[in-house]
Symmetry: D2
């Protein structure tokens, strides 16, 4: 008998930080959460004439739904969050440039004396049934359909050491990792830092290129279903993802090679632990079999992932098989709907 | 009637730089080159007991076959090199750590006071017919087959401005880019800096993970066939790749985000030029449709690629269709063998 | 008539974050604060046998004294903090390596597979009267006196956007900037983000080399006197320092060139505003007359400063002369003691 | 009896690379070289209307005088170059921005889609007798005198491994280090990579701020006197500088923290070797006593130095006292002129 919690926040209910907020709900491990998440513009950008710098007010950007207190979660445990489905809530979605934000512009940190790029908004048509989004150039009549591949840019827990971080920041607590790998079918693992873990979720994208080079994906409100669970006594030093086929570790840092190093280091040591391989043997195996999906190269920390197919790791079984169990729960939930 | 040039260098014939060497052959545009390339160890590492630091002598690392003078190539032209096939020349291949080299160790540049990691050699079995390589752990009996996916780590032309660069370095002339995308079926484009372009090739890998995290792929001598051609008057600011399905731009720099920026910037401006899109419209399209394959995160410059499927660019036709013509020549060559 | 507030925290009174804490005192603008600050080890490392990883407990590192609520401070104002004197509170001080922390070692972010450097503690003799500290090698009998040049590594205010940051982190709110420029005679400026500003101070160093390469200075408890004041309606985008002779801007970021860019960008635009120079004219002047003192190259963000002598800026008068007024108040306070 | 070699290159005699050039002169160790060096614009920018992008032609930038073959220099030796005097050759000097070059602009590597900053030239008056240069704003009538502190931005030897590098690049062979520390009174040390070392010199600056933030110093032709000497069998891994009072190591790399790491690592290990200190003891001493002068943050590699006062290193004697001997030779030369 599975707990199902449906939660749709009112406008004043969103959080803009990880940490520093009271829980919106207490949920039991194993609970299914049916959630509504708003887009990164707080739903304020609806037309190409709605410039984010005009209609959005810092720091009320990138709202997240939550946090959820998961009963029994304690520091030293791992929170497992299985993504059952991610469905755009509207038939349109937005992307934009934003002054001094993005990879191909001077920014607050990569400070230059050049004026910012033009602030431009693109509005996409979203066809959930056909699983497409339509891009339309702002100048000229070029238009093309792209596959709909929904994901969440932002997911995480309260940070350690009493910190509170803006939802725009990715770090070891998760946050704004902006990786297309965070899609339906994935189980995400987060180290628990505070009682209840305090999980929150937002920043849905209909799809996103690698690195989110202009600074935003195809931003959309989402109806998303996740299942939360606990792995007691399991340490997770940086967020990890698991699919039926692959294991992934997430690194968020600057410069970008440090995001790469964090993710590869964690995948090497995790793989060594799972297989019994010597660390240098695991280093060699990942060197030849590993992948490195790029998350974002525009946020306050950049994000890269290290990824390896499970079939190369023998009989490795991560987190005592929680992914398989959550997959089964998800099938049960979906079939019973 | 296609020119076919077969060339197998003797031990003293290899080059260790791009630039600064006389051509080993003059070839006409359109010529098919049947080449032998040695592995990055110069073939000196054959067993797990052959430590690279003992059997290799700096700077005689990473030998390349060439350079080839392509008749008629002048600064301001583009050299097109189509990779017809890449076949391992032996039934074994080598990978290793190397002291203070690789992504998860202090290096010459990321200088630390820690002692180096152990220098360890792995020998792989190569089965060309089955298209597999076999990994074997050095400690314990773990073993696994990986797909054979041959590629060249190093390819390029003489640099501009009279420079001569070690073959270990990737930069705008090509060089040690170490990207798995440089495989059979690809056409690579290089801006010509000196008369004859002076193309050279080496550093075959049976396969390589993303970033070449330990510092080496599965290194192998190769029998490789390429077709060289010229696109007169076409400027190529940084190396580019084309397949039947995709366009790619290559960035090599430190820190890694600059390699990302160079590659994405070139793909955005190249796509804008091919489609007639406004640069910000192209920026947006690549932001949602683009990929970012990681080359290496261990060489003197790091390498990332920006990639986009041609189907998203409408009727774009790069370099006046030379890729299609070289594909046809390749089929003709292969069928006549 | 000057307010003088003396405050010596008890062991449980220290803060380990900027933000997220109630004020320990409310003080009026113009108040003199006589403060005791504990060293970054919380006073737990007293002998060379006291290893920080054993006697300190994360996150109870780098305690700060405060926060102080400055009456009338509102977001959009600038808090001015004049450092009157910084005097070591003991006749000894400590420095150490710390596992996977420092510039010449792999770290959490620059993740390597090498074991950490040895954890070693050095104890210095401090002679306040002679203004010297004595270094003693741990192996062998080499010993040398260095000048005593007291400074505070950590000073700042509550961050914007509801964030709470560990005291180990430097950013636009100040924090662990670890610059030797934060010494007696300096006025520091911080943009106010929350009512009361919530100023806190800690991490005294008897001296520190440029970059704090091993990860710690000569760490000491301090008796420090500061005067706090407000500049209403003055925006300070990143911390700034002023002495009788120079203006400085502080940049904290990774990679280190971004810390450089932030600081130089702020000094260029600040100088342009003060002098009426065109921004490119100010860029040129700072390019030839500017300095770039290095703060730290070991903390979660690195810190660099941009500095220019006031005599090169004509009649520029920063923050309406508050530094001069606070200097006068300091002289008055010191003469009346 | 000291050899004195006077050499003033004709327009066609300048070199634009380190390596790849025949010697302009053979000189004996101990020879005094009286040299003329042209400015980085090749003397083509004389007025504020002479835009570098119009009057200079890539790659004919940053000409150097030389190379000089020093008799007896062999790989594995160290070349010592003592700077006796550096005197501006004209009563004017030039600085400028250059499109997509400098620290506060997008560049070729930090590629952005923003248009370049305006290209602007500043012409300075140089008064050698008064030891001043005069800055004049291009817009408005702001003007100020700055101290004349002549230095050379570019000095070095032929690289290792058969490489040839543009004079714009700093690396372990020296090159375009752009540090104000390379002034009269300094002895510079370079590891010898090829027979004769092939020393060359150029890029005089009347002065330069830290980091050369706009991309150029106050660029001037110079009449410069150096004395060259050899230290046989002494290995120098990266350029080093010595004054009467200090030792310095030079690091050139990207990101900037790696330039810092290289320089600090070399200073720590060099100091340990000179004093007999354990490496961690030297790490600690440099952490508290060391400085980190910034060279450039705009060239293809960035440059930082690590510096320590000799008085903190006991009886350390670098390179067997060659600096002292060359100082004596310099005094003898100057007194005999």
């Amino acid at each position: 008998m599975t707990d199902v919690v449906s939660y749709r926040p009112e406008p004043g209910d969103f959080a803009y930080t990880f940490g520093g907020r009271a829980a919106v709900r207490r949920v039991a491990p194993g609970a299914v959460l049916e959630l509504y998440t708003e887009d990164c513009y707080g739903g304020q950008v609806r037309e190409v004439g709605d410039l984010p710098s005009k209609v959005c007010e810092f720091p009320y950007l990138n709202p997240v739904t939550g946090p959820f207190h998961v009963e029994g979660a304690e520091p030293g445990d791992t929170l497992a969050v299985h993504f059952v489905e991610i469905v755009p809530a509207r038939d349109w979605a937005i992307s934009s440039t934003f002054p001094h934000f993005g990879a191909l512009t001077g920014t607050h940190a990569t400070a230059t004396l050049q004026p910012p790029l033009d602030e431009v908004v693109w509005r996409y048509d979203v066809d959930v049934a056909a699983r497409t989004v339509r891009y339309r150039a702002r100048r000229g009549d070029f238009s093309v359909e792209l596959p709909l591949e929904p994901m969440h840019g932002t997911a995480g827990v309260a940070p350690a050491a009493g910190e509170v971080r803006m939802t725009l920041v990715p770090d070891v607590h998760g946050g704004n990792m902006d990786t297309p790998e965070l899609r339906a079918g994935v189980t995400a693992y987060f180290g628990v830092n505070v009682p209840g873990a305090m999980f929150a979720l937002g920043d849905g994208h209909c799809r996103q290129g690698h690195g989110e080079v202009c600074g935003s994906g195809i931003e959309a409100a989402m109806n998303t279903v996740v299942i939360v669970d606990l792995v007691k006594g399991a340490v997770t030093p940086t967020p990890r993802l698991e699919t039926d086929d692959a294991l992934m570790a997430v690194g968020s840092a600057r410069p970008l090679e440090d995001a790469y190093r964090i993710s590869q280091h964690d995948l090497v040591t995790w793989s060594a632990g799972l297989t019994g391989l010597d660390p240098l043997d695991a280093y060699q195996l990942i060197s030849q079999a590993g992948e490195a999906p790029v998350g974002n190269v525009c946020d306050p920390n950049y994000t890269m992932l290290a990824k390896v197919a499970k079939r190369y790791l023998g009989s490795a079984n991560a987190y005592d098989g929680v992914h398989e169990r959550l997959r089964a729960t998800a099938r049960h939930y979906l079939s019973g709907r």
